[in-house]
């Protein structure tokens, strides 16, 4: 049987190599899309973990503040524990040197260092005595163009400082994923140079050998109480993973759709292969081969396709991930302020998942065929398959089942609003419905067409003939189109919503802020305040507060500016809201209100560095700046809650008739070399939209992968058809059809498959966008998005789909047009 397997396989590949390659490609693209996303997800988390360990080495515990910063007592508590060997204070500074972003970790370098930053005894004093001493990675030093001992200028907030490249450190030697932007300073130097307020961001603890890590964490945590948490490195990485959970879940869902499309492609190819070989398999059974032997033969072929597809898909996925890491890294930095991902690590588990997906999808694609093979007796295998009929009988029943499942989930998930994944279940149900409705719809619609000539109408009419193969091609394209349309419509709606939101929130004429997450100095504030032509100015202060177990962002602004309309579009517009905020109330952003179940009029407890405070929610406002949510209070309330924190940005409202661009230039001139960013209203709006576009760039890659697989499905189906329908094509030729006509018929079929996929996909996409907007976005991000279909983008995609379908049909059409009339002797019309 093994020898027969090898011979049969060789014959199959030799007979139709393109078909075989397309099938393998389907598996490969499905594997690649999953591997790409999993690699990107994993590396985002790993980069964060590496940035933690690059400096502190393998410290077992880290103390982080629950709010604001840690004071010196945290160090004392850490050192006092019996299990502690050393404790290291850490302050993090975000700085910019030219275009290069520096993630400065300032720590106590008077202590001997471990890990990559070992200076040796003779240089141990350098970090303290050399002004502006900083240790850089080799890559960062090269990008900055500095050598050891050289100086460069860096900016934090509105402060510009001169730093000395004291040492070059190979962080990647011990931690390959450590970002090259990591730089290390002595904590005292950093606090002095950057003018930082006292307080620590972290305390890193190295325990004695053999110490019980969890017990030590519990002891230290108990002493510190509510003001701090004690985390292991894994817990820190988990925190980052939790932060990214919604982002990762959505990407994973998209990659699984690509995989589903790939499974359809495999199914279509295998079904066609098996249909063609039914007689052969029937003869084998008639000659004494057992059912198990025949099934084993088919499984062997399927697994080989799975193996080849996996072998191709794994490197393809790695290449795709590597090519797109910058895009995703930018998204993560924009959305979650995480470290950039510079290098790609390929963990074994991702390879294992890729292999499982490749082999699993190949087996899944063959499931129907294998079930049929097991059921059929030898005699049944020798006659033409009844799959078409069984498909048609089965599909409506499954359709009803899918509809019931979707309805039940909708009622449970939407009405109760208790189960966030309900949206995904409904989305899958929609896609399943599209798939199940496809055979019925293709058959019905193709029968409605009354061809008057041998053209497009005839092509459409022919689709009902090889229904099983055609329906699978249409279904896989419909899924890809549903995803494309759904996501495009969602992103377009989101963008339109954002534009409208920007219109009501970004109302000042000029915005001044820092490029790093720093504060504006008094000198800068005085210069800004002296801007001529200003009728009002607003300053934004940022802080944090604890609400139960949740840390929330707190923004302090001048709520009531004379002559300036409200900048917070409210969910329920009612009068007196701003007055209530000015009187000590607060505004809650929509994502926070949804996630914490807050409503207008509710009184909430906030804990800040100044103590416990009770405030009334004056209103809930639409906000798209962060999915974590934010609260807005008036400046006076903010100072009462957080303290006199320096502003992060200033917004200027100019008198009517004042030239905004000229004022921007004038302000930039007067600020001299102060490292602040002055943007006009238009420029800020454009910047926000640029960040938005970058955020969704990754979805384009996934859409493209699904689309490629679906188009490969069309090519595959038509190639199969060119072989399966050789006798029919020969009949056309015998009845006087020219090669050109046969070519056109096949291109028409490609177009018909594309058109069916497009229409079904558009219906699925319309349903999907509603689920994405109304359920998934609200459940995972908490945003309200107003439906606004991007007509042109959708029209372009529709045109691309049809064009791709035609292109995919060209080669099969060429093959079909070469069908010799002699094929008519075959008795298999």
């Amino acid at each position: 049987m093994v020898r027969y397997f090898a011979k049969a396989l060789a014959a199959m590949v030799a007979k139709s190599p393109v078909l075989y390659v397309l099938t393998v490609l389907g598996v490969a693209l499905g594997v690649a899309s999953v591997v790409t996303i999993q690699l990107i997800n994993d590396n985002a988390i790993a980069a964060f973990a590496a940035s933690v360990r690059a400096v502190t080495g393998d410290d077992e515990l880290t103390i982080v503040p629950t709010l604001g910063a840690l004071d010196d007592s945290a160090m004392r508590v850490a050192l006092a524990d019996a299990a502690t060997q050393t404790a290291r204070p850490i302050v993090r500074v975000d700085a910019l040197a030219g275009e290069e972003r520096l993630s400065i970790v300032a720590t106590d370098l008077t202590q001997p260092t471990r890990g990559p930053l070992e200076l040796g005894a003779e240089r141990a004093g350098d970090p303290l005595v050399t002004p502006g001493w900083i240790a850089l990675s080799h890559e960062l030093a090269a990008r900055l163009g500095v050598t050891p001992g050289g100086t460069f200028t860096a900016v934090n907030g509105s402060r510009r400082v001169v730093l000395t490249a004291g040492a070059l450190v190979d962080f990647k030697a011990t931690l390959p994923l450590a970002p090259s932007s990591i730089a290390v300073m002595d904590i005292a130097q950093a606090q002095a140079v950057f003018g930082l307020s006292p307080g620590l961001d972290e305390v890193a603890i190295d325990l004695l050998d053999g110490a019980d890590v969890l017990a030590a964490a519990a002891r230290i945590g108990e002493v510190l109480g509510e003001r701090a948490r004690v985390l292991t490195p894994d817990e820190r990485a988990e925190e980052a993973a939790g932060l990214l959970a919604a982002f990762r879940l959505n990407l994973t869902a998209l990659s699984l759709i690509s995989l589903a499309v790939g499974v359809f492609l495999i199914h279509g190819a295998l079904q066609a292969t098996l249909l063609r070989r039914r007689t052969e398999l029937g003869v084998l059974r008639a000659l004494g081969a057992t059912r198990r032997q025949v099934v084993g033969l088919v499984i062997g072929e399927v697994m080989l396709i799975g193996c080849l597809g996996t072998a191709l898909g794994l490197p393809l996925g790695v290449v795709a991930a590597r090519a797109n890491i910058d895009v995703v890294s930018g998204t993560l930095t924009n959305l979650y302020l995480l470290q950039t991902v510079e290098e790609l690590r390929v963990p074994v588990w991702v390879i294992a998942v890729g292999a499982a997906v490749g082999l699993g999808s190949a087996l899944l694609g063959a499931t129907l065929s294998l079930i049929e093979l097991r059921r059929e007796d030898a005699r049944a295998l020798l006659v033409v398959s009844t799959l078409q009929e069984s498909l048609l009988v089965l599909a409506p029943r499954l359709l009803v089942g899918a509809a019931l499942l979707g309805s039940a989930t909708a009622i449970f998930g939407v009405a109760a609003r208790s189960w966030a994944p309900a949206g995904f279940v409904i989305a899958v149900t929609i896609l399943a419905t599209v798939v199940l409705a496809t055979p019925w719809l293709v058959l019905r619609v193709s029968r409605l067409v009354r061809p008057r000539g041998f053209g497009f109408g005839y092509s459409m009419r022919s689709l009902g003939q090889k229904l099983a193969a055609n329906a699978f091609a249409v279904a896989s394209l419909a899924i890809a189109v549903s995803m494309m349309f759904g996501i495009t419509a969602m992103v377009g709606s989101f963008r339109a919503t954002l534009e409208s939101w920007i219109g009501s929130t970004v109302r000042a004429d000029i915005y001044v802020s820092t490029e790093t997450r720093g504060r504006l100095d008094d000198d800068v504030l005085r210069t800004i305040a002296a801007t001529p032509g200003t009728r009002a100015s607003d300053v934004l202060r940022k802080g944090e507060a604890r609400m139960g177990e949740r840390t929330v962002r707190l923004s302090g602004v001048n709520v009531s500016l004379p002559g300036v309309p409200s900048r917070w579009p409210l969910l329920h517009a009612e009068g007196g809201v701003l007055e209530a905020v000015a009187g000590g109330g607060l505004l809650v952003s929509e994502p926070l209100a949804r996630k914490a179940n807050l409503a207008r009029g509710e009184r909430i407890q906030l804990r800040t560095l100044t103590g416990e405070h009770e405030l009334t929610i004056a209103g809930v406002f639409y906000d798209y700046t962060t999915e974590q949510g934010t609260m807005v209070v008036d400046t006076a309330t903010f100072v009462r809650l957080v303290g006199p924190v320096a502003p992060s940005s200033v917004a200027l409202y100019l008198n009517h008739g004042v030239d905004i661009d000229a004022t921007v230039r004038d302000l930039q001139r007067r600020l001299g070399d102060s490292p602040v960013v002055v943007r006009s209203n238009q420029r800020l709006r454009a910047t926000i939209l640029d960040i938005f576009d970058q955020t969704f760039a990754i979805t384009v890659i996934l859409q493209a992968m699904s689309f490629l697989i679906a188009v490969a499905g069309i090519a595959l189906t038509l190639l199969i058809a060119a072989r399966e329908r050789a006798a029919e094509l020969a009949l056309y030729r015998a009845l006087g059809a020219t090669r050109c006509q046969v070519f056109r018929i096949f291109v028409g079929q490609g177009l018909s498959l594309g058109a069916f996929g497009l229409v079904l996909g558009a219906i699925g996409g319309a349903a999907l966008v509603m689920v994405l907007i109304l359920l998934i976005n609200r459940a995972y991000f908490g945003w309200t998005i107003r439906l606004a279909l991007p007509g042109w983008a959708l029209a372009e995609q529709a045109a691309t789909i049809l064009a791709a379908a035609v292109l995919a049909a060209l080669y099969p059409a060429m093959r079909a047009s070469r069908t010799p009339s002699q094929e008519l002797v075959r008795d298999d019309l």
Partner: protein, 222 residues
């Protein structure tokens, strides 16, 4: 001018097997010729060469005065479309088309489907007794009915030559005789020349002239 002229036509397939060996035949217009022979004797190849589906290895074939070997594939296709109607043993009806659509297929291919052509489809189906089945799927038809539909399809564009390859081969004797009678009558009414191949001496006897093909050599039967 003769309808069909074979002049020392030979056909050798890949692998060297000689299927037709210097076959000469002249079929006058309006004649009904039968070719008999065993399976594999080259009967179907003879018809395929006559229709321009296959090309002779040696010799010349004339179809209504046009030398097929001088035409390229497109030229032979267009000549076949205009001048030849084909009837096959296995009917070769398309399951996704209705009875009427199967009959109308040559007009669709020729781009001449019109109201007049639809009338002709109806006329032909009425003539073979299937007018009331025109909207049915061909899969619902019996073998004899299928072959009657195939005959209508062959006659649709009023070809001057009908080539029938074992038209009764898949039918029982009674149905076969009925179908053959219909084919002969229809060709007579349409003024078409008919060349058919058959196993049956009884059906061959209905022709104006009979030929026997044996190991690629064509001889006139007494």
């Amino acid at each position: 001018m003769s309808a069909l002229v074979f002049d020392k036509v030979s056909k050798r397939f890949e692998g060297g097997r000689l299927v037709l060996d210097a076959v000469s035949l002249e079929v006058p217009r309006g004649a009904r010729y039968a070719v008999v022979g065993r399976s594999g004797s080259g009967k179907s190849t003879l018809l395929h060469i006559a229709a321009g589906i296959e090309v002779a290895t040696q010799g010349t074939v004339g179809l209504f005065g046009k030398a097929l070997h001088e035409l390229d594939d497109r030229g032979r296709t267009l000549l076949r479309r205009d001048a030849v109607g084909l009837v096959f043993q296995s009917f070769f009806l398309l399951p996704h088309l209705s009875v009427a659509e199967n009959v109308g297929l040559p007009a669709m291919i020729a781009g001449t489907m019109s109201g007049r052509m639809r009338d002709r489809v109806r006329h032909l189906l009425t003539r073979v007794g299937l007018a009331d089945r025109s909207a049915d799927s061909v899969q619902k038809l019996s073998g004899g009915e299928m072959q009657r539909v195939a005959i209508c399809r062959a006659l649709l564009l009023s070809p001057k030559l009908i080539l029938a390859d074992e038209p009764t081969g898949n039918l029982d004797d009674v149905t076969g005789r009925e179908v053959m009678r219909l084919l002969l009558e229809a060709c007579g009414d349409e003024g078409a020349t008919l060349v058919y191949v058959t196993h049956s001496q009884e059906l061959a006897a209905l022709a104006d002239a009979r030929f026997v093909l044996h190991s690629g050599v064509l001889e006139k039967a007494p």
